[in-house]
Amino acid sequence: MLLINCPYCGERDQSEFTNGGEAHVARPKDPDQVNDREWSEYVFVRANPKGIYYERWVHTHGCKKWFNAIRDTSTDEILKIYKIGETPPLIKRFKNTLRSPSGEPDVGSGNFTVKKP
């Protein structure tokens, strides 16, 4: 279970929050000019990286405010939390020393795919 540092309320248990999926997905600026395939990408296709992931959370059972987080999906470590509207910070140093976060053997861990900046 994650401990999430709400930028408005401080550290709270994950069960108070709801995940809002990928952050910074921009709606097409000129919808009339967008074809079906591009619409499909906007509506259905979201990033699903193993590694650095920019995502949204909402403090459902608290201040009810939305905010963004950067999480390493291979370890679930939350690397950074920032407010809506702020420019997404670039993660410069990103340690992923856990070779097999879920206790898998090295071979077969799939961790070569962990996305680092």
Binding site: Q14, V45, T75, S102
Partner: protein
């Protein structure tokens, strides 16, 4: 030589202390070139290789697995099998699978312990009743054995259930008698053994790092055991499908989430059917060992750690105890998570893609196990003929562009 299991075999091997059983499959080094490579050695992948060799007579096939056979979601599910889905497309797909399940032990000459003990999907409110009755009717139109059971009938099937004195009383259920459970490891092993017999190379501990393409055609795969060239590549990698697809430059509409399950200490038989509940979100069955096998929904965030959070377990057990107060003091022995790939419409993808010779079988989300034989059978057809079978044609990648989704979110009774 065909390895047959029979009573004589068991007696014969008993005399030699069971030390002379033959290995179930070879452990070959990968060749440089295969006609078809299947990425992912779970039930779906091994089954695909088996049907490719058996039904389509193809040779020179390999299955590449990063860990050990059936060590991913095949070995992590709660083994429930049913086909009472709402929409025609899904009903046909899962019923095709259920029919194959019914004959699987005979076909493989390997006991997959398929037990048709029935599945109940509970209704807890007026809306549930309407939704479930609608689904029962839809099932009947598709020739699936599905019935509406009232509280009295449920009580008769599952006497330990608390139907009245709880926050969400049980008002009825859909019942599919042909549904049930099977032993998940045996499915992977059975398919592996028979595929191996038909000449399929099963390569374990061989992780695919990249899918190589050339001029819009698939060229082969890069693995931890070197480059393997292939004319056709079928990807059946569940949670890691998007990661692999990305190496070929393909974006899939999938999200990977942890799905947890847990088992209790073994007890005497108390529940001889599978009971699922959509509204309170928990499902339970009892294994042949006597353990309660309990599952629930996914954790609500993307992750590749095969863990998940305790709050999900707490929610699940809360519902279980409310429905079965008798389980209140039981101890849970093990808990684990698997990474499932979920499609926006909660239906799978068995499809070709824009790259020639590259096929995907993914998006099974929380309900892939029940579909193992059907999915494998149809995926083999899709790869062998380079076009989908009529049953899996609706489950193509194009549906996200055309908008012809097969929305099984609520109607499938969330817990798969």
């Amino acid at each position: 030589m065909k390895k047959k299991y029979s009573i004589f075999n068991i007696v014969k091997n008993a005399f030699s202390n069971n030390e002379n059983w033959k290995k179930m499959w070879r452990n070959p080094e990968p060749r440089k070139f295969y006609d078809i490579v299947i990425v992912g050695g779970g039930g779906h992948g091994l089954g695909t290789a088996y049907y490719l060799a058996k039904e389509h007579g193809l040779k020179n096939i390999a299955v590449v697995e990063k860990g050990w056979l059936g060590g991913g979601n095949t070995g992590r599910n709660t083994t429930i099998i049913r086909s009472n889905y709402l929409w025609d497309e899904s009903a046909h797909l899962y019923e095709h699978s259920l029919k194959l399940w019914e004959n699987l032990s005979t076909e493989l000459n390997y006991n997959v312990m398929f037990s048709q003990r029935g599945v109940l999907n509970l209704a807890h409110n007026e809306h549930d009743i309407k939704e479930i009755k609608r689904r029962v009717s839809a099932n009947k139109l598709n020739g699936i054995d599905s019935y509406w059971a009232d509280t009295k009938q449920i009580k008769k099937l599952v006497p330990i259930m608390n139907t009245e004195n709880c926050r969400y009383p049980v008002l009825g259920a859909s019942y599919q008698p042909r549904a049930g459970t099977a032993r998940h490891d045996a499915v992977a092993w059975g398919y592996a053994m028979r595929a191996d017999e038909l000449g399929v190379d099963i390569i374990q501990n061989c992780e695919v790092k990249k899918i190589r393409t050339k001029n819009g055609k698939v060229y082969g795969i890069e693995t931890t055991k070197g480059i393997i060239r292939a004319k056709r590549v079928g990807v059946v990698a569940s949670g890691h499908t998007t990661v692999l697809a990305e190496t070929a430059g393909i974006k899939l509409p999938l999200q990977s989430k942890p799905l947890q399950a847990l088992v209790s200490e073994p007890i005497k038989p108390v529940i001889n059917t599978v009971v699922m509940s959509n509204a309170v979100h928990a499902y339970v069955s009892q294994s042949d060992k006597g353990e309660l096998v309990i599952g629930a929904g996914t954790d609500g965030y993307n992750s590749f750690t095969q863990r998940g959070g305790y709050n999900t377990i707490e929610d699940t057990l809360r519902a279980i105890i409310e429905l079965y107060p008798i389980f209140g003091k039981m101890k849970m022995l093990r808990q684990w998570g698997g990474i499932v790939d979920i499609c926006p419409d909660a239906s799978p993808i068995i499809s070709k893609c824009e790259i020639e010779g590259l096929y995907f079988n993914c998006g099974w989300g929380t309900g892939g196990f029940k579909a193992t034989p059907g999915s494998a059978n149809l995926f083999a057809h899709t790869i062998a003929k380079d076009k989908p079978h009529s049953i899996n044609a609706p489950f193509n990648l194009e549906r996200f562009v055309s908008g012809r989704l097969v929305d099984e979110h609520g109607a499938a009774a969330v817990a798969h």
